[in-house]
Structure formats: C-alpha cells, structure tokens
C-alpha cells in the first residue's frame, strides 16, 4: 500500500510546511509531495468544491520565453504546439499540447502572454524533457529561461477570489484564463485565473523564498485548507480534465483526446506544428478512437487499465477512474472506438474480470464554475 521511492527526491519550497501540517508525503514525479493531510481526501475534496483549497504545485515546470532580435516567441512556439499562440493578447492564457511527428502528445501545458514574454507551465514529470525539446527547437528564436525553483500555488474553489482579493484586490476583476503581475505580501508574483479542479480559482507563481510565507498567509484565512494530490486527482477527474501519462500521451492525438477545441482554427488549415498531417487527416475523416466519459452502475470502481467491452467484444480501455466525492459514485474516462463513442452507448467495464454495466456520458461530470466575467 506504500509507493516505492526511486532515486533522490526533490522538495518544493513548501516541504517543511507540509510536514508541519501533518501531510502524508509520497514520491511523485521525482518530488516528495503531500498526497493528503490528516482530514483525508474526501474532506479536502468537498472543502475545495464548497470553500477554498490551497495546493502546492511547485513541482510543475515554469519556463519563460523571450524573443531574440528579429523573432517573435509566439511564431516560434507555434512550431511546437497546435494552438493559436500568435493571437494570444497580453494577459491571456491558453491550454495547448507539445505534439510529436505522429500527432501524439509529448506534454500538455498552459501558455500565458505577459506582453514581453510567454510563460509556460508544464507537467512535473515531463519538465526536463520539455526543456530539452524547447532548447533544441527554439534556441535560435528565443531566450529560454527555466524557472524550476519558483513556487506555484493553486488557490481553488468558490471562495478563492474572496480570499486572494484581501491580499491583492485587483485579482477580483480577472477573468478565467487571464494572467497579471500582482504583488502579494511584498513579493512580485504572476497570477492566472485558472486551475485543475473545474472550480473558479487562481494559480500563483511565486519567487522561491516567498512561497512559504505566502502559503502560510493564505492558510491563515479561515476559508482556506491545504489540499493534497489525492483530492487534486479526484477534482480534476470530476471536471473531465486529462492527466498526462494516463488520459493523454505520445500515442493519443489531440483529436482522439477530444481536445480539438484547443487547436487554433487557422492552424487546423495551415498546420505548421509537429504531426499536423496526422491531426488534419483525423479532423477531416474522424479519429479511430475518442476519449469519452463513463458512468458505471453500482458502486464498483473501474480504474485505469480496465477494459471496455460491448457484448463481450473489447472496444476500449479506461484511462482514469475513481470515486467522485461530489456525486457519491464511481466515474471514469477512457478511449473507445469512434463508432461506439456516442453518448448513451451502453458498455461494460471489466473490473477484476467482472463486467460492470456503464454508459458513455458527456463530460464534465461536475459542472465547471469558471469566472468568465
């Protein structure tokens, strides 16, 4: 029931705070991270949905791109991702993916324009490979600055705006998927109104040495409780959001993953990103399989790796599954053959060899409550 440790583990600036708060620490993506605090995942999950949760996501990779003379960062980054980056206005944020030559996903990331720079937030487990990829491809056009020592805090939930506004009133006017420089507790931070829970909330990029004092300051507000990686996963699953390495990877395209909304409209036509030919063909003809939501009947939980069958024939596989605390029931997502992917399709999920009836359903499982102004 414990997870094996591998190699020397890194710590975020909040390691001591996690220990003080009684967190259970586990190895995750090369870091010692809090999986839960003493109250447990169900309480943490509900607290985030109902009030406000503080997550340490400092293990994620932050990278800053600055244009070299005669170049633009947006045009350079567009050679690696299918999103419309050139159209990103200062202060706007966008979700995209690094694709490979077969249209698979090397990582998914957030890109924010500050006007002078592009700021990227990539997954912890991929950040070294992502940095090498960017350095290999974009060094001629961009100064590439890894900011892996910075802190990253996520403040999520319906009361996040109330709490953060007390420290920085200007965040109240920010809309979902926008970013701004904000001074918090005397430190220059970069705040975006975004997150990985489906709730309204913020991600706060902090100077390394300001991370702990800002986290403590946020936790001093009665609405705020610390939340571990366990609830982070159950919250994102309810929100229907992909987890890299599970729901998306180098074998899944943005079309198969139903992330086409994040591919720029002009870029679908013009291409110019790795794997464009494969992705354009899938846009035109349909992809062989699609990511879908799955609602199992009863209480059994179909987890990653459970096969999806129709009348005994395997048509797909579960890539994430678990208990949805908000709904009090099991939910899952996975890939099925496109011909079987319509909402309402009845399938069976093979849980420990036993078929559990389930239905293909739209996602998210829990409605998003983003603040769009």
């Amino acid at each position: 029931m414990s997870e094996p440790a591998a190699g020397p583990l890194k710590r975020t600036p909040l390691y001591d705070l996690h220990r003080e708060l009684g967190a259970r620490i586990v190895p995750f993506a090369g870091y010692e991270m809090p999986v839960q605090y003493p109250t447990g995942i169900l309480v943490e999950h509900a607290h985030t949905r109902n009030a406000c949760g503080l997550f340490d996501v400092s293990h994620m990779g932050q990278v800053r791109l600055t244009a070299k003379a005669g170049h633009t960062t947006a045009k350079a980054l567009e050679t690696l991702v299918p999103a419309d980056i050139a159209g990103l206005q200062p202060g706007q944020q966008r979700y995209t993916q690094f694709t490979n030559e077969t249209g698979g996903i090397l990582d998914d990331l957030m890109v924010t324009s500050t006007g002078d720079h592009l700021q990227l937030v990539v997954n912890a487990a991929c950040k070294d490979a992502d940095l090498a990829h960017i350095q290999a491809k974009l060094s001629d056009a961009c100064e590439i600055e890894p900011m892996f020592s910075r802190g990253l805090l996520a403040l999520q939930g319906p009361q996040a705006v109330t709490v953060l506004s007390r420290l920085a009133p200007q965040v109240a006017g920010m809309k979902f998927m926008t970013g701004a420089f904000v001074v918090i507790d005397g430190a220059r931070c970069y705040v975006t109104r975004s997150g990985y829970t489906g709730c309204d909330g913020f991600e706060i990029s902090t100077p390394a040495d300001a991370t702990d004092p800002i986290a403590r300051k946020l936790l001093s507000h009665p609405e705020v409780k610390p939340i571990g990686l366990g609830a982070r996963d159950s919250l994102r699953l309810e929100a229907g959001l992909c987890l890299y390495g599970h729901d998306i990877d180098t074998t899944t395209t943005p079309v198969e993953a139903v992330l086409l909304w994040s591919v720029g409209k002009e870029r679908r036509v013009q291409g110019g990103f790795p794997g464009a030919a494969v992705i354009q063909k899938q846009i035109a003809e349909g992809s062989p399989r699609k990511r879908v939501g799955l609602l199992p009947e009863g209480k059994a939980i179909a987890r990653e790796g459970a096969e999806i069958a129709i009348a005994g024939k395997i048509v797909g596989i579960v890539t994430s599954g678990g208990f949805a605390p908000t709904l009090g029931r099991a939910i899952a997502m996975g890939y099925v053959e496109r011909a079987q992917s319509a909402n309402g399709t009845r399938v069976e999920l093979l849980v420990r060899g036993k078929p559990v009836p389930a239905e293909i359903v739209p996602m998210p499982f829990v409605k998003h409550t983003y603040y769009r102004g």
């Binding site: 029931m1 414990s2 259970r24 999986v35 839960q36 447990g40 995942i41 169900l42 999950h45 366990g230 609830a231 996963d233 159950s234 209480k299 059994a300 939980i301 987890r303 678990g322 208990f323 605390p325 099991a330 420990r352």
Partner: protein
C-alpha cells in the same frame, strides 16, 4: 476472551471457537485513506489462506484483502455497502469484513499477537 491475531498484510482475525471475524487494522485504514467501497466475499464461499478474497477501495486505489486462514465464509458485513467509512472509523469494530468457519486452526500459528504486530508496524517506520 476472544483471541485476536494479525497478518503481515495488516488483517486482523478475532477467534471465537472455530469462527474467525476478519477485518483490516488501524494501520491499514490509515495507509488506505478514505474507504469508499468494499467488496466482500459471499457466504458459502470456500477460501484458502493467502487467497485474495475481498477488495477495499479508497479514493486513491484498490487493495486486495487476503484470507488469513482457510475455511468457509459464513457471513459478510452487508452494512459496508452503505457505510464503507466504518472501515476508517472503526476498523476493528463496525468495519469488519467477513466471518469464516476455520477449517484448520493451525493456520493461526503463523499469525502475530498484538505485541508482535505492534512491533511489526513500528519496524515499517
């Protein structure tokens, strides 16, 4: 006085005559975190010592529960279907999993008493 024995897989068995009541320990429930589903074996099922016979699902993961002794299941804790959290709050009380009629009480010899189990847990750090 019922005799309680413990396995290295963190199950307990409370022995009364040739009946054993089986559940998971305080240490096990702490490691699992919030329990959200328990699958218990049906009455009448013959189980062998060491066989995976039940499943406990926490928010994070599914874990197998192994029969600490051989025998026949005579009763399963049906209440866990509606209140799986009993495993967290009363792992050695209301959170019991199932009862077996033991076929060989010699199976108990390989299990730990409370002091030995406490030392075993301590050794895990």
């Amino acid at each position: 006085m019922a005799d309680v024995r413990y396995s290295e897989e963190h199950e307990w068995i409370r022995v009364e005559g040739d009946t054993g009541t089986i559940g998971i320990t305080q240490y096990a429930q702490e490691q699992l975190g919030d329990v959200v589903f328990v699958e218990v074996p049906a009455a009448g099922r013959k189980v062998a010592k060491g066989e995976a016979v039940a499943v406990v699902e926490s928010v994070k993961a599914a874990s197998d529960i192994y029969a600490p002794v051989s025998g026949e299941v005579i009763e399963a804790n049906a209440a866990l279907a509606d209140t799986p959290g009993d495993v967290n709050t009363e792992p050695m009380g209301k959170g019991w999993f199932f009862k077996v009629k033991m076929s060989d009480k010699g199976d108990l010899a390989g299990l730990m008493d409370e002091a030995a189990y406490a030392a075993f847990v301590k050794s895990l750090g």
